[in-house]
């Protein structure tokens, strides 16, 4: 929820910062786009003054999101109905077992139904984690092409120190986050899935606490990384901005010592450079935001649909009596949420950096 709010805030700031003009985008940035994003952003990178570039891009994304939503909803609904049927069958089986002298025998019914639920959802889990990891790698490739170009455009506008600090910080944090996700958090998601599955089988549910700790730990690590990155960027941007302002004042002093003709020439050259840099910065900022959103669109919608449907399934299944199988379905929905959060964290980090870059203004 917090991740979604952060993304919305970045989007709002981006809309405010977007200008009406558009500049030719560097080739290396266009080549770094993933295939799905390239298809979505086709023709948006051409040289033309267009007030509706951002709106057109968002409209296309809205249409694509609807298509993905319709397709994935149908597929996920089948799984949801199957899980609901399993829960109802489990309830009936438990009742029959108890009514036929169940206390005298070993009750393997929960084990059997947990296995059924696990096998039903195993494919979705693997696909989800694979998709999530692939999306994060694509974002990493896009960042490596986009960020240096954006830094150069910001620097050409006079904010050299700000551009360097932001670029280096984003690259470091992006590498840190992806390594953390790949080496620690994804294995912990597997552990969480194993913990909730084992907890559903064991009668006293001894692993519930461990599963909760794992879920909260993963969430805190992701949130903490974003908070630290945003805090670092805010603090260092203020200092870098002061350094750039001082440099600008020194430059103005140097220019004021020149003869009038030379001063005029230098001023005109500076204005040309600033105008071009401003145009490129805005274009890259809007394009970068659209590219990040386009890259995340399909995985977000797919995982979001599965997360909501699993939660709804657990809710409706709970109305029929609850039980460990229902809690397992709810917990598996949380696992989707965790992977969704990881992809969201990577996207949010990039969006915060892009927004911060194009918002840099030297007084």
């Amino acid at each position: 929820m917090k991740g979604a709010l952060t993304l919305l805030l970045c989007f709002w700031l981006m809309v405010c910062c977007a200008t009406t003009a558009w500049a030719q985008l560097p080739e290396e940035v266009e080549e770094a786009l993933p295939e799905a994003a390239e298809e979505l952003l086709e023709d948006l990178g051409e040289t033309e003054a267009d007030t509706g570039t951002l709106q057109r891009g968002l409209r296309r994304m809205g249409e694509m999101a609807w298509d993905v939503l319709s397709r994935d909803f149908r597929a996920s609904l089948r799984v949801a109905i199957l899980l609901l049927s399993v829960v109802l069958l489990h309830g009936m089986t438990e009742s029959i077992f108890e009514s036929t002298g169940g206390s005298k025998m070993v009750n393997v019914i929960p084990l059997a139904f947990v296995l059924v639920v696990t096998m039903t959802t195993a494919g979705d889990m693997q696909t989800m984690i694979g998709t999530g990891m692939a999306t994060m790698e694509e974002l990493d490739v896009l960042a490596k092409a986009l960020l240096p170009t954006l830094a150069a455009a910001v620097a050409a506008g006079g904010a050299i120190v700000s551009a360097s600090v932001q670029n280096v910080a984003t690259v470091f944090f992006a590498n840190l986050l992806i390594t953390l996700i790949r080496e620690v958090l994804l294995p912990l998601v597997y552990c969480y899935i194993a913990a909730v599955t084992a907890n559903a089988i064991l009668p006293q549910q001894p692993l519930k606490g461990i599963a909760t700790v794992l879920r909260k730990g993963i969430t805190w690590i992701l949130t903490g990384t974003l908070v630290i990155f945003t805090g670092y960027l805010s603090i260092t941007s203020a200092a870098a901005n002061s350094a750039d302002t001082l440099t600008l004042q020194l430059t103005r002093s140097a220019i004021s010592t020149a003869v009038p003709v030379v001063g005029g020439i230098i001023s005109r050259a500076t204005s040309s450079l600033l105008a071009g840099a401003g145009l490129l910065k805005s274009s890259l900022g809007v394009f970068g935001m659209l590219a990040v959103l386009a890259t995340c669109l399909t995985p977000f919608v797919s995982m979001g649909v599965q997360y909501i449907l699993y939660k709804l399934t657990a809710f409706f299944a709970g109305l029929s009596g609850g039980g460990r199988v229902v809690e397992l379905i709810d917990a598996l929905g949380n696992a989707f949420g965790l992977v969704l959060g990881m992809v969201g964290a990577c996207a949010a980090l990039l969006l915060i950096s892009i927004t911060s870059s194009i918002s840099v203004v030297i007084a």
């Binding site: 084990l111 551009a163 280096v168 620690v184 912990l188 084992a198 089988i201 140097a254 003869v259 020439i265």
Partner: protein, 140 residues
């Protein structure tokens, strides 16, 4: 999963208690395995490296900016000289070179493809602040 099956099959008593203790330890080890196998150096972000890269990037961006400014200023100055020469009835192609003073490129030297012209030379010295000794004229 295997532990759960084992607990379900074992009879209640000392054996089950012992199995649960051992099973709990095994589960904790499995869950902590990602942290144990994690290579901390992969996550380490040495501040020195960070600072060095920031300085390198700043230097690179400063140089890029200066190069762009120099190119623009040289072009403008050359065009100015050609315009002034045309007013004097002379056609000239001038190549201006800049020097960086206090972080700003200033025109410092010029090479012209015509013989020495006193009026043009005075104009270049007054308007562009390029000293006479740094004006190179084509010798006949």
């Amino acid at each position: 999963m295997a532990l759960s099956i084992l607990y379900a099959l074992l009879p209640k008593g000392a054996i089950l208690t012992a199995a649960k203790c051992a099973g709990s330890l095994i589960l904790i080890l499995v869950m902590l395995r990602p942290l144990v196998t994690l290579r901390v150096e992969d996550l380490a972000v040495p501040y020195d490296v960070w600072e060095e890269r920031t300085a390198e990037q700043t230097e690179q961006l400063t140089q890029d900016n200066l190069s762009s400014m120099e190119a623009l200023i040289e072009e403008e100055c050359s065009a100015y000289i050609s315009e002034k020469a045309a007013q004097l009835g002379v056609t000239v192609k001038a190549e201006v070179l800049c020097e960086v003073r206090d972080g700003v490129p200033f025109p410092a030297e010029v090479t012209l493809d015509i013989p020495y012209n006193e009026m043009l030379s005075d104009t270049i010295a007054a308007d562009l602040d390029i000293p006479y000794e740094r004006q190179h004229w084509q010798e006949n």
